[in-house]
């Protein structure tokens, strides 16, 4: 079982003929993702890794229905491509690019809300239903089926933690990368809700970081509405206030979004917070053992 996607999900790759698009199309196919088509304006009629390429999303969906689209589109053109996918009726969008302008992201989210579509990202590694379907750019080998749901604000750190789980032979149901930008589609709470109602997910790992109030909001939700155990790791304990650490979110401003406030909120919701990424598997086992 999994959330959002499964092995039946029909996936479109927008920007399939580019370097990133074609490489990850191959990777996703290897993982088992059901890719039904790609879009690259002006390249219609070609194939990439055996996948047919269309000129427009409308042409693609005319030929075969599509459930989800992953975008490998340069940031300045990502809004247009995302709006195209939404207009063509696609209900799950995975926005890989970073540096999408803030107001473009706001415009995309507004249309996604209107169309009842789920947007993962932007600036995300995507999401994976382990062993069934990967719509993203994460390294295939770490994502093996198992009982743990993972949701993360950052990419490589999430691989690090999933890597530790895998080393310990703990697999995952679904791993979702929320994306590192200020405006992203899914938030912790959205994904926690899904995990809570997914029978296959027994334990949840939340990978957060300093800045913003997403972890505090997640903690409040866990406290009020979750029965499943949650384990967390938070990055940024050593970060000085007022400096932006890469992500739009990773900045401690005006005393808000500190490491301490997040740990306190999570602990208050019964969530154990690991000191080091390598401690996560033990905490998961401990939580699952209860």
């Amino acid at each position: 079982m999994s959330i959002y996607i499964n092995d039946q999900t029909r996936v479109l790759v927008q920007g399939i003929t580019g370097n990133q698009g074609s490489f990850h199309t191959g990777q996703m196919l290897k993982y088992g993702t059901r890719i039904t088509g790609g879009v690259s304006p002006g390249k219609g009629g070609q194939t990439v890794e055996g996948v047919p390429v269309y000129n427009t999303v409308f042409e693609a969906v005319e030929n075969e229905p599509v459930d989800a689209s992953i975008l490998f589109i340069p940031a300045p053109f990502a809004k247009d491509a995302a709006l195209e996918a939404l207009a063509a009726g696609i209900k799950i969008l995975v926005l890989i690019p970073e540096h999408i302008p803030l107001h473009d992201a706001a415009d995309i989210m507004a249309q996604a809300r209107i169309n009842n579509a789920v947007v993962v990202g932007p600036n995300t590694f995507g999401l994976v239903s382990s062993g069934a379907s990967k719509i993203g750019i994460m390294p295939n080998q770490y994502f093996i089926p198992g009982p743990v749901g993972v949701v993360s604000r950052s990419g490589t750190l999430c691989y690090e933690i999933v890597g530790h789980l895998t080393e310990n032979e703990i697999g995952t149901t679904t791993v979702v990368g929320l994306g590192g930008d200020r405006v992203v589609g899914l938030h912790f709470i959205d994904v926690l809700k899904e995990f809570e109602s997914d029978p296959a997910t027994k334990t949840v790992v939340l990978v957060g970081e300093i800045g913003g109030s997403a972890e505090e909001e997640a903690a409040a939700f866990i406290k009020s509405s979750m029965t499943k155990p949650v384990v967390a790791y938070l990055a940024g304990k050593s970060a000085p206030p007022g400096k932006r650490m890469g992500h739009a979110g990773a900045i401690i401003e005006r005393g808000r979004g500190t490491f301490e406030s997040k740990v306190e909120a999570l602990n208050g919701a019964g969530v154990k917070v690991a000191d080091l990424p390598g401690e996560v598997p033990a905490l998961v086992k401990e939580a699952a053992g209860k």
Binding site: L102, A110, M138, L157, I210, S238, R254
Partner: protein
């Protein structure tokens, strides 16, 4: 990109948001001339730091001579590490009430949000939460008159001031959207006998959208290293410690710094060289780091979109061309791991697979050095 106050006010004027009459000056002589024209003036250092006023970067002058003296003084000051190249000399306005007004983007709501408080003039963090009205704006609707009327009702504002808000807010919203602002803040927004006037301007433009605003000057109030990093499109922050850190991804870079501290070391920087960099860019990132004269170098790569062989290749290239004589701790796993490890071995570099091992090794190296 934060805009200097005078640039923010130029934008305001372009969008018909009233600002005080003023001149931008580059010398005390020009400040004197401006004051001779404008009468009683306020002289404001054009630096990006928030606390100009408290630090003495703002002065009032009632004569041209006084304006010159004050300008001389302010030009000599260092504020937030920078000396002002320009001052803004403005007519002193008659303020009846100070209001806080800002537009920013609310990440949770995924929408622009209007922030208004009648407690203006003070630091925004000092405004009591319940005295601040927040109104998220649906971008498909835009900022409409009815929203301003409702905000005014919640503020307890009516009559002429409400009319002023109804004129002004949609203009600020247009600026905010069309100029790709992350923040457009007016604090204080001054109620004068002639209506509302923006007494200050804090406008931050979204770096990712700067390509759409070629007419805006590029502001570079940064250290040389930060500027170099910007040119390389790296996320780089200088810190005070000894171990130079380079990793791929903001989260894991932060986690690496945390772990350095956890094992008793101190990080010299935050450097996230992003995902999917090529050999050239990776080499340049390395060179930048080496230029900071750290005592130990810690590289932490979990390759996903980043390829281990590319990083290893870049490292051995830099090692060969520039010579890397400081102790290095290298962690390398993920995409093309075997190829990367082989390259490193050829260059005589041992590498770890575990982040914990690599970091604790780096701290050991520091202690030994």
């Amino acid at each position: 990109m934060k805009l200097y106050e005078y640039l923010g006010k130029e934008l305001f004027a372009r969008y018909d948001i009233p600002v005080p009459a003023g001149r931008v000056v580059e010398s005390a002589e020009q400040a004197e001339e401006a004051a001779a024209e404008l009468g009683e003036v306020v002289i404001k250092s054009q630096v990006l730091t928030g606390k100009r006023g408290k630090a003495g970067g703002i002065a009032f002058a009632s004569s041209a001579g006084e304006a010159r003296t004050e300008a001389e003084r302010i030009f000599k000051m260092e504020l937030g590490g920078f000396k002002a190249e320009k001052l803004l000399v403005e007519e002193k306005i008659q303020i009846e009430q100070e209001i806080y007004l800002a537009l920013t983007v609310d990440g949770t709501a995924q929408k622009p949000v209007v922030l208004v408080s009648l407690d203006g003039g003070m630091d925004v963090e000092d405004v009591p939460e319940e005295r601040m009205i927040r109104w998220p704006v649906d971008v498909t609707v835009g900022l409409q008159g009815f929203m301003v009327r409702e905000i005014c009702r919640q503020l307890g504002v009516s009559g002429d001031l409400q009319k002023e808000f109804i004129k002004l807010l949609p203009r600020l919203y247009r600026l905010f959207r069309e100029m790709d602002a992350e923040l457009a803040e007016i604090n204080p927004l001054a109620l004068t006998p002639g209506g509302l006037v923006a007494a200050d301007a804090k406008v931050t433009i979204d770096d990712d959208a700067l390509y759409r605003h070629k007419d805006l000057p590029r502001i570079r109030e940064k250290t040389d290293l930060e500027l170099q990093a910007e040119e390389l499109d790296l996320a780089y922050v200088e810190l005070d410690g000894d171990i130079a850190v380079m990793a791929n991804g903001a989260g894991i870079t932060m986690a690496t710094l945390d772990m350095v501290q956890h094992y008793g070391g101190t990080p010299a920087n935050f450097l996230d060289f992003g995902g999917g960099a090529d050999v050239e860019k990776t080499s340049q990132s390395l060179e930048l780091l080496l230029g900071t004269d750290p005592r130990v170098l810690l590289i932490n790569i979990f390759g996903g979109i980043t390829r281990c062989d590319v990083v290893a290749e870049a490292f051995s290239r830099v090692k060969e061309s520039k010579g890397i004589d400081l102790p290095v701790s290298f962690r390398l796993v993920g995409t093309n791991e075997a190829e990367g490890r082989a390259i490193l071995e050829k260059a005589g570099i041992k590498s770890f697979t575990s982040m914990e091992e690599a970091v604790s090794h780096a701290v050991d190296l520091l202690k030994q050095s």
